[in-house]
Amino acid sequence: MSRIINSIKGVILFSTILCVGHCKEPIESDLEKGLRISQETNQFNDGFFGDSSETELEIINAHGDKIVRKMSQKSMEQKGDGDRSLITFQWPADVKGTRMLTWSHKKKNDDQWLYLPSLKRVKRINSRNQSGSFMGSEFYYEDLSSVEVEKYVHKFVKEGKINDRDVWVIDRDPVNRHSGYSKLRVYIDKVYMNPLTIEYFDRKGELLKTAKFSKYTKHGKYYRQGRIEMVNHQTGKQSNITWSKLTLNKKYKSKEFTKNALDSF
């Protein structure tokens, strides 16, 4: 009998220790968890120095008419601030040589310049309104800007699966009131540490677009998508971006991402 009582005491003591140990840890709220996951994914993707790629943007209207735009792109990480990127348009022929330089910032509006080769002119672009269409596509400028944790309020929703891959589902509310969205629901692959799907909700809270990320490839520790298909549910239009010749760990000089460099080779 005393052996049974001692066993019960032992269980109670063990449970108490467990409980005390557990109760010492604060319970993580959905906001904290969402922020933590976003910070972790961002940190995981940091440190690539610079990258370069060739990009093909396919724009399809509601009637199925299609046009392809080609670009080359390079970007460079900045310590303590957003990335810098330079896009050179290659096709169609009438925009060939046009360049767009973006200095992304974590909290402030991005600095952005457009180089018009026919005039040899550098024009500053007002980036405050984020919801402008990029080259007539279903991608907004803010969709293509570097992902900075500070640009959103993050909220963990749930864990789930997409195509048998484990994902975290996070809601991101843009901090910038000039964003074209009220919310982004992001499905982040736990291995790729990058999105598989993003659902974009318009300012009225209705589902506007869905982006599906696919063809991930591994580059060192990093995974990068090879394709994004963006469908606008309200207009029936679609735009797809396909990457090729992606190279990471490129060591650029900072002068390659300056206004002065827009008119260089």
Binding site: I59, N61, D65, K66, I67, V68, W91, P92, A93, D94, K96, G97, K108, N109, D111, P117, L119, K120, R121, V122, K123, R124, N126, S127, R128, N129, S131, G132, S133, M135, G136, E138, G180, T235, K237, K253, S254, K255, F257, T258, K259, N260, S264, F265
Partner: protein
């Protein structure tokens, strides 16, 4: 031109340059409203071909860029212009460029007080005449990521190409047959060499870009017109120009400023012809509205004024001497990249002077484009000798342009 292509083809593989070549050829059909002069051509049909070649080998780069126009109905518009023919060497923090260069320092869309380094072909487009390359030795110094100093030495004089007597953009029945450098005191020279200097400072900061410049150079925009027995000659004076530009984001608006103060040598002939010290200032606001259907409209409001001279001098100094512009550019952002733009320029001094223009542009294929341009100019000349925009009174025109890229 053929020799140039052969040369480029030969040197490219030899030096294993990275290179880019692009070009376009266009057919322009232009019809003006009939005027009272039998000497002027009221229509033109032209072909323009432009090429651009750039190459880079380690720290060296080269650029050649130019165009040629052949007008079937107006021989005086035939032209071959070299806009850029330069060789550059760059290191981390500096760059040296030697050769012919096309400058563009402008910040505004319509009025460009500081975009006057290059000579111009005035028989092209009244709003933005084509540029002629300026020979220059340029030393560029980069300081950090945001500051650039440029130092220029320009050794020669390339005059602007003025209109022929058959041009609807010209001075009626007069033809320019000589271009000279004006030396002051009624003296001029046919010499094409003249030392000219310039320095420019550029800086970008949060939400803005600013630049300042000083030029001691030949003014190819403001010139004396003198009869020389068989026609007209243009005499181009030296000028010291202090100027600058600003592009600054304010919320949804972009503020743009261009200013140039021109300081001429004190000369009675220049003063008698309205070429006096003056400040040309242009300011503009731009706002882009993004529509729910992915289309976008950019609204432009710009104004320009010339200070420091009387009304008569002001009118002779620029087509747009005290003017305001309201314009828009609507991009449909569709698969054919359709775009409609339009503007109205009203003279605030001569309230009856109005220039209205509108352009429709769209792609026809991945390598071709079509433009339809309509322009109306009512300048109501009420004087014997027209000045400024009055020269172009009733020069209404329709322009169709088909462009093929290669």
């Amino acid at each position: 031109m053929k020799k140039l292509f052969v040369l480029l083809t030969l040197i490219t593989p030899v030096f294993s340059f990275q290179y880019r070549f692009e070009g376009e050829t266009s057919i322009e059909a232009r019809v003006f409203k009939k005027d009272r002069f039998s000497s002027t051509k009221d229509h033109s049909f032209a072909n323009k071909t432009a090429i651009k070649w750039r190459a880079k080998h380690e720290n060296y780069s080269a650029e050649i860029r130019g165009f040629a126009r052949r007008d079937l109905s107006q021989k005086s518009r035939d032209v071959s212009i070299l806009e850029e023919f330069s060789l550059s060497y760059e290191e981390n923090s500096y760059e040296i460029k030697v050769g012919s260069k096309m400058f563009n320092w402008s910040a505004l869309e319509a009025f460009h007080p500081v975009d006057n380094v290059n000579s111009r072909n005035y028989d092209s487009n009244v709003e933005s005449p084509e540029k002629i390359g300026q020979n220059v030795i340029q030393y560029k110094k980069l300081i950090g990521e945001s500051i650039v100093w440029d130092f220029y030495y320009m050794p020669d004089f390339r005059h602007s190409k003025l209109t022929g007597k058959d041009s609807r953009l010209g001075l009626g029945s007069f033809d320019f047959n000589n271009y000279k450098l004006y030396q002051g005191n009624n003296q001029s020279t046919n010499s094409s060499t003249k030392d000219q200097y310039g320095v420019r400072y550029q800086r970008n900061f949060e939400g803005g870009d600013i630049s300042f410049h000083y030029l001691d150079f030949i003014d190819k925009t403001h010139f004396l017109v003198q009869a020389n027995g068989v026609g007209l000659q243009a005499l181009f004076p030296m000028v010291k120009q202090y100027g600058g530009t600003l592009q600054q984001i304010f919320g949804e608006y972009t503020l743009k400023v261009e200013a140039a103060y021109r300081d001429y040598d004190k000369d009675a002939t220049l003063v008698a012809n309205g070429i006096e010290d003056h400040l040309q200032l242009a300011m503009g606001l731009e706002k882009t509205i993004y529509h729910d259907n992915s289309q976008e409209t950019t609204w432009i409001l710009e104004a320009q004024n010339i200070f420091g001279v009387d009304e008569k001098s002001r009118q002779s100094l620029d087509f747009f001497q005290r003017d305001i512009l309201l314009g828009f550019r609507h991009s449909f952002n569709d698969v054919m990249s359709k775009e409609l733009s339009g503007s109205i320029i009203v003279d605030l001094e001569e309230s009856k002077q109005i220039l209205v223009s509108t352009t429709w542009a769209q792609r026809l294929s991945d390598t071709s484009k079509f433009k339809f341009h309509l322009r109306m100019i009512d300048a109501y000349p009420n004087v014997k000798v027209p000045v400024g925009l009055q020269h172009l009174n009733q020069d209404h025109q329709v322009l169709l342009e088909y462009i093929r890229f290669f």
